[in-house]
Amino acid sequence: MDATLFFQTLVNGLQLGVVFVLIALGLTLVFSIMHIINFAHGEFYMLGGYALFYFFAQFGVNYFVAIVISMLLVGLIAVLIERGVFRPLRDFPLRALVASLALVMLLQGAGLLGFGPEDRGVPAVVTGTLALGGTIFAKERLMVMGIAGLLVVLLYLFLHRMKLGWAMRAVAQEKEAAALQGISVNRTSAIAFGLGCALAAGAGALAAPMFYIHPFMGSMPVMKAFVVIILGGLGSIPGAVAGGLILGLVESFGTTFAGGVVSSMLSFLILILVLIIRPTGLFGHE
C-alpha cells in the first residue's frame, strides 16, 4: 500500500472514529448514571441529523449555530423523555431496557410520520481539499474531526472542572452517597441523559453533510457505539475514546482492504472476542 492511500485511510478512520467516540460517550454517560443501555440512543442521533437538516439546509441558519441548536433541542427532548419514561423505571433496569427498545420504534415511527420516508441530503459545508505532504484530504472530514474532538475535550472539562460534572461522576460511582452529600440524583440523572443524547445529536449533525438523512439512520451507529463501549469498558470515558478510535481505524482499513461488508463483520467479531476474552473491556473495572 502506498503512503498516500495509507494516510488517507488513516485520516478517514480517525474521522469516523471521533464520530463513534461522540455517540459512544453519550451512551456510556447514560449507562454509568442510569445503569441502562439506551437502545434508543441512535434515534437521538437521527433527530440531531434532522434538526441540522431543517435549521441549516432549510432555514439557512449558520452551520455551527445549527449544530448547537440541534444539540440543545434534542437534549431538551431527551430530558422530557427521562422524566416521563426512565425516571419512573429507575429501580427497574430491565423494564427500562425494554422501554428503550419501545422508544426506538416510537421515535422511528415519529420520524417517518414527521419527516417523511425519503432520504434527505444536506449540502456540503466546506468543499475542497488540503494537500499535506503529497496526500490529499477533504477539508470537510478535517473539520468534522476538529469539531468532534473539541466536543470530547469540552465534555472532559465539564466532568472534571464543573460542579455539575462532579455531581455526575459522584452519582455514577455511588448514587446514595451522592444524595447524602446534597446532590440531587433526579436532577443530575435528567441532565446527564439530556447531555448524553445531545452528544448523539451532535454526532448526527456532524455526519449529516456526509451521509443521507432518513428515519432509520440511527440503527447502525448505535450498534457501533455498543461495540465501542464494550471494547473500551462500560461506563469508561477514556475507554469510549480509545474504543471509538480503534473501531474507526478498523472500519476504515477494513473497508479499504476488504470492502464494507467484511469490515462491518470485523467490528462485530471484535465485539464477540472482547466479550469472551476480556469482558471488562480495555479500560473497564468489574
Binding site: 460542579k163 462532579w166 455531581a167 461522576r169 459522584a170 460511582q173 455511588e174 446514595e176 452517597a177 451522592a178 444524595a179 447524602l180 452529600q181 446534597g182 446532590i183 440531587s184 473495572h285
Partner: protein, 235 residues
C-alpha cells in the same frame, strides 16, 4: 431536644422494619444505638437522612419537622451520615471525596481551610490525598468517610457501624476520633453491633430488637443491665 423520632414506622415492601420507634438525642451528646444484625439500626439512620421514607411517625430536628424532606435538604439542615460500608466514591481521589462532602457549601475559602484541618486531623488522608479512594485500606476508608461527612459542617453526625471490619488497633483509633469530634461540639448518633464500644463512648443508649426499642437509658445503666450483659456484652 436536638433530634426526636416519634413512633416511626418504616416498611420495605410488606416487611415492617421499624415498628414504632421513638428516640431522642440531646444537643452535645453521643447516643448509642445497639442491636443485632437486622434489628433496624441502619433503617433508623436512613430514615433520619431522608434516604428511606417513613410509613408513619414524625422526625423532628431543632424544632423543625424533617420527615418527608429530601436527603439534600436534610444535609443542608446540618445532619450528615457516615453510611454503613463507607460508600466512598471509589474512582475519585481522597481530596475529591472530601471536597464533595462540602457540595452544598458556598464559602470557598472556608471550605479550603476545613479541608486542611481535616487533613491535619487525619494525617493518613493527607498522605494519600491524590490516591483513589477505592485503593485505601478499610481503616483509611472509614476515616475518609468520616472526614467527608464532617466537610458538610454537621450539627449532628450519624454513624453506621464505623468499627465494622476494622482491626482492634484501628477500632481504638476510630473511637478516639469519635470522642474528638463530639468534643468539637458535634452531636452523634452511633450505631454499633459492637455494644461494648458503643456503650463506652455513648452518654445514652437505646437497644433495638426487631424494629422495636426494648431498652433505653444512660450508658452505665445499660452496661449494668442483665439483659444487655447477656445478649450484647457476652455474659
Amino acid at each position: 431536644m436536638l433530634l426526636s423520632l416519634k413512633d416511626v414506622k418504616v416498611h420495605y415492601g410488606r416487611v415492617e422494619a421499624l415498628k414504632g420507634v421513638s428516640l431522642e438525642a440531646e444537643e452535645g451528646a453521643i447516643v448509642g444505638l445497639l442491636g443485632a444484625n437486622g434489628a433496624g439500626k441502619s433503617t433508623v439512620l436512613r430514615a433520619i437522612s431522608g434516604l428511606k421514607a417513613l410509613t408513619t411517625g414524625e422526625i423532628w430536628f431543632r424544632g423543625e419537622r424533617i420527615d418527608g424532606a429530601s436527603p439534600q435538604s436534610i444535609v443542608s439542615k446540618g445532619i450528615a451520615l457516615v453510611p454503613e460500608g463507607r460508600k466512598l466514591f471509589p474512582f475519585m481521589t481522597v481530596r475529591e471525596n472530601l471536597r464533595l462532602g462540602a457540595y452544598l457549601r458556598k464559602d470557598r475559602s472556608q471550605i479550603n481551610k476545613d479541608l486542611k484541618e481535616i487533613m491535619e486531623h487525619f494525617p493518613i488522608l493527607e498522605e494519600r490525598k491524590g490516591q483513589q479512594a477505592g485503593r485505601l485500606s478499610g481503616g483509611e476508608q472509614q476515616m475518609l468517610s468520616i472526614g467527608r461527612a464532617l466537610m458538610s459542617k454537621p450539627t449532628l453526625l450519624l454513624m453506621d457501624e464505623p468499627s465494622l471490619g476494622l482491626s482492634p488497633l484501628m477500632v481504638t483509633e476510630i473511637a478516639n476520633i469519635i470522642v474528638d469530634i463530639n468534643k468539637g461540639g458535634v452531636s452523634i448518633v452511633l450505631v454499633e453491633q459492637n455494644a461494648r464500644l458503643a456503650l463506652s463512648l455513648a452518654h445514652k443508649g437505646y437497644v433495638l430488637e426487631t424494629g422495636n426499642v426494648v431498652l433505653e437509658g444512660d450508658a452505665q445503666e445499660l452496661i449494668d443491665n442483665e439483659h444487655v450483659k447477656k445478649a450484647y456484652l457476652g455474659g
